[in-house]
Symmetry: C2
Subunit: 382 residues, 2 copies
Amino acid sequence: MRNFVFHNPTKIIFGKGTVGQIGDEIKKYGVEKVLLLYGRGSIKRNGVYDSITSSLERNGISWVEVSGVKPNPVLSKVHEAIKVARREKVQAILAAGGGSVIDSAKAIAAGYYYSGDIWDAFLGKYKVDKALPIFTVLTISATGSEMNGGAVVTDEKTGLKLSFGSKATYPKVSIIDPTVQFTLPKEQTVYGAVDAIVHVLEYYFDGSKDRWLMDRVMESIIKTIMESAEILVNEPTNYEARANLAWSATLALNGLTSTGSFGGDWSSHYIEHALSAIYDIPHGAGLAIVTPAWMRYVMEEDIDKFRRFAKEIFGEEDPEKGIEAFKSWLKNIGAPVSLKDAGIPEKDIDKIAENAAFEAPFGTLKRLELEDIKKVLEIAAI
Amino acid sequence: MRNFVFHNPTKIIFGKGTVGQIGDEIKKYGVEKVLLLYGRGSIKRNGVYDSITSSLERNGISWVEVSGVKPNPVLSKVHEAIKVARREKVQAILAAGGGSVIDSAKAIAAGYYYSGDIWDAFLGKYKVDKALPIFTVLTISATGSEMNGGAVVTDEKTGLKLSFGSKATYPKVSIIDPTVQFTLPKEQTVYGAVDAIVHVLEYYFDGSKDRWLMDRVMESIIKTIMESAEILVNEPTNYEARANLAWSATLALNGLTSTGSFGGDWSSHYIEHALSAIYDIPHGAGLAIVTPAWMRYVMEEDIDKFRRFAKEIFGEEDPEKGIEAFKSWLKNIGAPVSLKDAGIPEKDIDKIAENAAFEAPFGTLKRLELEDIKKVLEIAAI
């Protein structure tokens, strides 16, 4: 097990009927005005918007709204919101949504204090050490952004989807009410589950050794997400499945699964970012396409771990059969598992690989260069 | 799954050679003088004292020492240290030791600001909401006190062993260097492992339902502690076993295993506190005696969960055989499993039960009164 630092100060309020607590939590920080950031209006249909605004009003907190954050969130929206935040002199960002909204909130909170273009943080040219306080009300369990300091945004001009992370952008308080997710479209539930599983896999298959506890914990998270997702595709209002999926997705990427690791491999994520940046497909769909292909490509680097995965998750003895079983599970639950499934032509592989290679070489289990990325995409083709 | 709040702001620095970072961490808080609290001198033999004091010196932090904290820490030592802390105007407590030292540090840190007797906090007459900042260097993995706000202390005058908990007494930073534990006596390693396992069991068997993720995570922690402890009784310097045991023991009681639960049953702990308060036996030894007896006594209240425990941990189908297997494991690893094993006469059962009943009724799986406690102790007799 490698040395590590674990420090996650985010307060999680979890459970039925908790959304209305958000104003009380924000008030504890002495905040009197927030920027309320959300997506394309689902929070107005499922009651979340009303719960939040009532709670803010009750606590004497005023707000200004920026809405329209879309999946695979874009830099222009971040820029727009930074301007509003400054003009309106807000003291905090309240993100009500999924990973796209929360990630955008982090970029806005950091950008508020930065005189240059906050894209510099994504390019590694600016180290974020100051940000407006962030509060979140989670509406879809997937990215884990509600309990970490990371953010992923796409610059529409260059087509690059990049990330940054900072201690300053951990949410102060995140509210996770699983009932809010009862009305999610089936695909969003599935893609969220896939995203969370792959977060765990990034740490599980990063080449680190002797993480006896974390290997078991990671298998626990994967099994629980699979069990919950299988129920939810048929029973979207099953509370226990929603709750277990939600808490699993949060813990998948809150620093716990990283403890003692190399920090994760992340190749599947890097390659996927090219897919969703270029084709605007859901991130979880892209991961379902890329991850099994990546697994097949790197399997020999740590065959014992792939054998363990096959055995523990699918009861298979053969590591290759474990990967096949994972791919079948993804397909059965409703995710695309090839470029073809997503309508992406094989001839685009070079273009996708070149986009992904912007951050290459990457990967800890196997260091991937442009040529490796192409090979992974070829495996993912059909 | 029940609603919960999870908020654990303690920063954990984990790994080989990390003790010397403590001064740097304390300095970040602007602290210039600390009370260095420790036990009966093992830190002077294993190099921890030298690493700590060098680190403090290097960071220009002065210190005053209070030593001699003993296992099953006592209130008189807490009182003594509070006087020193006030007289010397320290700005923080640095606890270097195991649960006894860290628990005492929490009582001292809280007592510093309280004009009455800090025992009031243990009696529930004073709610702790202010304390000196606490920093810890952990020397034995057992209680999990390095990453929570709880403390257990014995008042020698009344023979009562009680606890309190507060958000104010979470350590700011805890350093966990598993190599520090290479020289622990075998019994201490074993009793630490038992303590940590029983922390998990308190949450596992508290009657809460549908914690699909946490049930798996708790089984992961128990299996890893057992695996690590089995290695360490023969190879005390096995780093991976020390590291996995250490991280497991911390996570056993940092709030994670509690999420979605009734908050734990705690009957085994309440009953054990009477044993260690009266006979001054190690807490882990007392738990090894009480817990299997408690399990037998309450088994019918949640037979399915006891069946699951038997299956998942010991591969047994019969829930009763699972409890027997746990008892055998405890005995084989070197723990006493009956009052007789610990030299406690059966005729003392009434006295022990009456001491334990100070906090009765307790327990969430089954509410225990004085008569129930006697019955548990009778099962534990031989």
